[in-house]
């Protein structure tokens, strides 16, 4: 008996020591939001390779990656911040950092993780290694649209206050804040352009977006695409559009119109409207395929079973897909050959070949929402 146990232990040890080394470049996570769990996925063989439980309330969860792409930082709605080891498929550290959170960001140097909170309103800055709290910046208002910017800065908007704040966390225990007031009514989300130069906040309370040149924050914010609604009554919006991950395709940005079934195309050189493209419904995410040839878009209720693909050359919809009911998110593999799309009500993640639109795989997942691949580790604003 004793010998059998010894043999078993030896076998286990041998098993451990021969676990194959692997990279993380083709890994990612899918949020299974109702279960408080993430599914670890691998895009080479298009399979689930593990699951990590115990992450709390993951409605509106978001994920950023450590700069070595080994760890995922998961921001939960309930204020949970969890550092997950992708290779070990386990929780490395977890803290409950607020009562109600909306997302987070990782600094340019990878040393800091910032969580954006609704209650109490503000951001909290943590050591990315230990999740030790280093400092906080209270805002007295709900923080939305947090993104990292060059210079270890975090940029975000305040929904009720209509402000954009730029927090320089170069000295993480004593961050300094630049406040831009009166940027527009009810900013609901924001993002940083891939080059890290501009921050753009979408406005719910008026037709337009707020633009900040992060090379020149002293110049303040200015409105772009002002009055895009042309005075028409907006349609009801059953889900807020999301701007992080929104599409920068070449010289164009593809931005959601609020209360209109259109995507607005903003020219990044002249900052004027280049086009507007009619769509099936209220867009939620528009994501450019790496390379910027096409932009894939999902929709709010009641059109949330469709994904439309816009050709950037033609500036029109060239394909419509039906990946499943309640499509919540989409993400491309780093070089854009696959699109991963989550369908909440079909409990599935569909993987498409972006060249042929053929479905390559369908993974089972419990009420999947966000899909986050490790290539984000190397991208500013993600």
């Amino acid at each position: 008996m004793k010998r059998a146990v010894q043999l078993l232990l030896l076998a286990l040890l041998a098993g451990c020591s021969t676990a194959p080394l692997r990279g993380t470049g083709d890994l990612g996570v899918v949020v299974e939001r109702a279960a408080g769990r993430i599914m670890l996925v691998e895009t080479t063989r298009r399979t689930a390779i593990g699951r990590v439980d115990g992450l709390g309330d993951l409605s509106h969860a978001s994920v950023v990656f450590s700069r070595d792409a080994r760890y995922a930082y998961v921001f939960g709605r309930d204020g949970g911040l969890t550092k997950v080891d992708l290779l070990g498929a386990r929780i490395e550290r977890r803290v409950i950092q607020s009562g109600n959170a909306i997302g987070g960001a990782i600094s340019q140097d990878g040393r800091l993780v910032a969580a954006a909170n609704y209650t109490p309103g503000g951001i909290r800055i943590f050591d990315a290694g230990t999740l030790e709290l280093l400092s906080e910046v209270p805002t007295g208002a709900k923080v939305v649209g947090i993104a990292d910017a060059p210079g270890n800065r975090f940029v975000f908007s305040l929904f009720e206050a209509g402000e954009i704040w730029i927090v320089d966390a170069s000295d993480p225990k004593n961050p300094s804040t630049t406040r831009l007031a009166a940027v527009g009514k009810q900013p609901y989300d924001g993002f940083v352009t891939p080059d890290g130069r501009h921050y753009i906040a979408g406005l719910y309370g008026e037709d337009g977006l707020a633009l900040v040149d992060l090379w020149h924050p002293e110049r303040g914010a200015r409105r772009v695409l002002q009055g895009y609604g042309r005075g028409e009554e907006p349609l009801p919006v059953f889900k807020m559009p999301h701007l992080r991950g929104w599409a920068a395709a070449g010289r164009y940005l593809f931005l959601p119109a609020i209360g209109r079934h259109e995507v607005l195309v903003l020219d990044r050189v002249s900052w004027t409207e280049a086009a507007r493209i009619p769509l099936r419904g209220q867009p939620v995410f528009a994501v450019a395929q790496p390379g910027g040839r096409r932009v894939w878009i999902n929709f709010a209720l009641p059109h949330n079973d469709a994904v439309q693909v816009v050709d950037v050359d033609a500036m029109k919809v060239v394909k419509e897909l039906r990946p499943g009911r309640a499509v919540l998110h989409l993400e491309f593999t780093p070089r854009g050959e696959q699109a991963w799309i989550s369908s909440r009500d079909d409990d599935a993640v569909a993987v498409y070949d972006t060249a042929t639109y053929a479905e390559l795989a369908r993974l089972s997942a419990e009420k999947p929402s966000g899909i986050f691949l490790t290539s984000r580790a190397a991208m500013t604003g993600f």
Partner: protein, 104 residues
């Protein structure tokens, strides 16, 4: 004549309140509240961009007011009108369910 109209209105209101959605539809409505309303109000209804929808947070509001907001939305806020997706009795059923605590 006035009296008759009153009685009729009361009867109709009572009928609307009594018209409970069928069990299968109720399950759909609970899913809708948790996941679609939950996008702004939180999956656990503890609030997000929209306010908390737990019974304590709704104490000051009558089921009628709540049902009205669900159907017609709230101007100046992101709360949209759900009248194209819900009947009056369904909105009222959701309002009552929220006031009592949404069933699991």
């Amino acid at each position: 004549m006035h009296r008759v109209a009153w009685c009729l209105a009361l009867l109709l209101a009572a009928a609307a309140a009594a018209a409970q959605p069928a069990p299968a539809r109720r399950a759909e409505l609970i899913e809708l509240v948790r996941h679609d309303c939950g996008a702004c109000h939180g999956l656990t209804l503890k609030g997000g961009l929209g306010p908390a929808l737990e019974p304590a947070a709704l104490a000051a509001m009558s089921p009628e007011q709540l049902g009205f907001i669900i159907l017609h939305g709230r101007r100046g806020t992101p709360m949209p009108p759900w009248r194209d997706h819900l009947s009056e009795s369904e909105a009222r059923w959701i309002a009552d369910a929220l006031k009592q605590g949404l069933p699991k």
